[in-house]
Amino acid sequence: MTNRKWIFIFLSILLLSLVGMYAVRIFPSTQAIAVVQVSGKEVRRIDLSAVTEPYTFEVMGKDGRNTISVAPGSISVIDADCPDRLCVKHGPLKNRFSPIVCLPNELTVTLEQKSGKIDAVSR
């Protein structure tokens, strides 16, 4: 095998893993717990698989308020009084790798795996 062939193989793996990363973004992880934090402090913890009725609630952030909407298996920020409203544009929280973040209000919404053992993965 020549160096060129190896480089070709490894570049294909890079490409495949990029496709995989994209796939991870699309497929939601349903067995998850959403954690709402303001300035690093946990304010709410919602088991998304246990939600049956959709509902909304408001969170007072550092600089303003965010309205969070919860539905079975999904959570999103639907309104915010911050200027950029990036958290609203983010849409529903789909996976652990792209948390909803509202920097002005110091609010984050992240997903946690139900069996919280993931923190034990080798370092």
């Binding site: 160096n3 495949l16 992880s29 652990r96 053992k117 080798s122 370092r123």
Partner: protein, 180 residues
Amino acid sequence: MRLKRLSESAILLAVALIIFRIEATVPMPIAVPGMKLGLANVVTLAALFLLPKGWVYGILILRVLIGSILTGNPMSAFYGFAGGTLCYLITMLFWKTVKPNQIWVLGVLGALFHNLGQIAVAIGLTQSFAIIGYLPFLLFAAVFTGTLTGWIVQLLIRRLTSIPSYRERIDHYFPKGEQK
């Protein structure tokens, strides 16, 4: 001869442990569990050219075991055993077919298979298949970190061959004329 091997293995193990321990304190820019540079694999790879295979595997297993205690994360030993063994096997498989200027390939292959083993164990231990979502991230990183570690070994071996006593031992693996 046996005593020389033993002391050389011990030194290589010590070097591997130091690298492993220091690496554990370096934060990675992306927060994916299990993501690391894998610099300790430099020692395993380099040892392949200097010591018999069994000794190399011994260094690897002891590094994982002692390393997991040193980093205060005994669970990581499971991931290390699976990852390390797969990494070792794939390296052995391709070791003979690789030319002196392709040692970097071994680094990448090792890193890729290390991550495969790690993910397999993680899925088994947590009983959560969703962890497979980490695989693309780990493989993506492995291509780069593996190239780095493999390339370091390639440079190291090239430098070592300029020392006569090492040259004899390494030439044994590379037929004459293929050096450089």
